[in-house]
Symmetry: C2
Subunit: 233 residues, 2 copies
DNA sequence: AAATTGAATTATGAATTCATTATTCATGTC
DNA sequence: GACATGAATAATGAATTCATAATTCAATTT
């Protein structure tokens, strides 16, 4: 079945210019999405033929797309033996989370200094909704809002390199981060952390925001490793 | 003239397995090198034909290599219009350096806790050589040793994600970082910073190493922007 | 039966070909 | 002469073809 690709967003066009992104980029976007949402599981082997048929493209752009995803670390290419979807081990998560924590802490610090009142209000509003999702016991809603808050803080940092770098690493740990079981007590603790972060942001307490975000991320890592649904090595 | 590619290092082989990297990866490595060493200048337009002839490969692996470099941010791909070598503006450097500073600070903190005595000694030794290069007025030597120190600290952090992430951003600002004019006073100041960093590392003063490295990187950014040989926007 | 060999099959790697889009440059117009 | 138009050229995008390596599986051996 060919679910041929709709015209997504632009690739690298001149500002305000219309230009369809290269097929390879569209395929990379689509495949990245499938990986992040878990339709294609970590550790799974990829057969080119299957994907060319799914996307309705030839092998050339597909293979280019694989190179892109490999550069991002989402897939592993093994010469003459195809590709497998990356599946970060506990050790790799233990590496990646502190980096993510450092980046988010930096984003929080920048946001505390640069965020507009509108951005501040939006983050506060999202934090309120985060509490509501806990009270409604709505886990999917919680994950979504949580992600929106982290992204809002990143955006408020106004640092494109920071945003891009964070996004790349965040994708690598995405499943572990958003599909881990969340115990009730961890859930409540995480919310409390978020409320403190929002408060510190509103107070524009730069250092405090940084500290809290770093601690929040490291607590998340601890919770994930404790749940222990990732491969140790 | 074809300077066909020698068998570089492996791509993603099983541990201890022999497997030549894909041609695309070899081309990406070679081209990355050309960009970093400045043989191909930032802003320059790339013609596929020229590179296929230079490397002695067909367009297919070359285009795959371009996708890899584009994912790394070293080149910009514009649909139907080829590729240009990225040239970070002052604004982009102002974004990238603080991220690099945060990453190196984190690396320094980890190194302060994890580095072996051998690694410590090596960093001290390199720092001594750094002073020697200043006293010999050997700028190329200084840049090289400086880079080796930063890499040694990264390596001592023992965090693969951190190392990879740092490398990606470091490449983007490589030319600005290592080809900027260095005034004598900045040179002396930088050396002094390095000696303090080495001392704090030896004392395993985690927080101090982090602070010093961050300050060192930000001072570097200031020096680069002051030299003003990058495009403002 | 388990292990090993090797042919057949299948998958990936890379070059080539075909298609489409930009760019260049000559021609004509104002 | 400056500008606009359009054909010729050259570049990139993608499919196809050819080459090579890996996998499968039947036949054989131990």
């Amino acid at each position: 079945m060919t679910e041929s690709i709709s015209n997504g967003r632009l690739t690298t066009p001149e500002a305000g210019m219309l230009a369809r992104p290269a097929l390879a980029v569209q395929v990379a976007d689509a495949l990245r999405e499938l990986i992040l949402e878990g339709t294609i599981q970590g550790g799974e082997k990829i057969r080119e033929k299957e994907l060319t048929e799914r996307f309705g493209v030839s092998r050339t752009p597909l293979r280019e797309a694989m190179k892109i995803l490999a550069a991002e670390g989402l897939v592993e290419l093994i010469p003459n033996r195809g590709a497998i979807i990356s599946q970060p081990s506990a050790a790799e998560l233990a590496d990646a989370f502190p980096v993510l924590a450092a980046l988010e802490a930096m984003a929080g610090e920048q946001a505390a200094e640069r965020a507009t009142e509108v951005e501040m209000a939006e983050i506060s509003r999202l934090t309120d909704r985060l509490r509501a999702s806990l009270e409604a016991n709505d886990r999917p809603g919680y994950f979504e809002i949580n992600q929106a808050i982290h992204n809002a803080i990143l955006a408020a940092s106004r640092n494109e390199t920071l945003i891009r770098t964070h996004a790349t690493i965040a994708r690598l740990v995405h499943r572990a981060r958003y599909q881990a079981n969340l115990t009730r007590s961890r859930w409540e603790q995480a919310l409390s952390e978020h409320e403190k972060i929002a408060a510190a942001l509103n107070a524009r307490d730069t250092d405090q925001v940084g500290r809290l975000l770093k601690a929040h991320m490291m607590a998340k890592l601890t919770a994930i490793l404790k749940a222990g649904q990732v491969s140790p090595r």
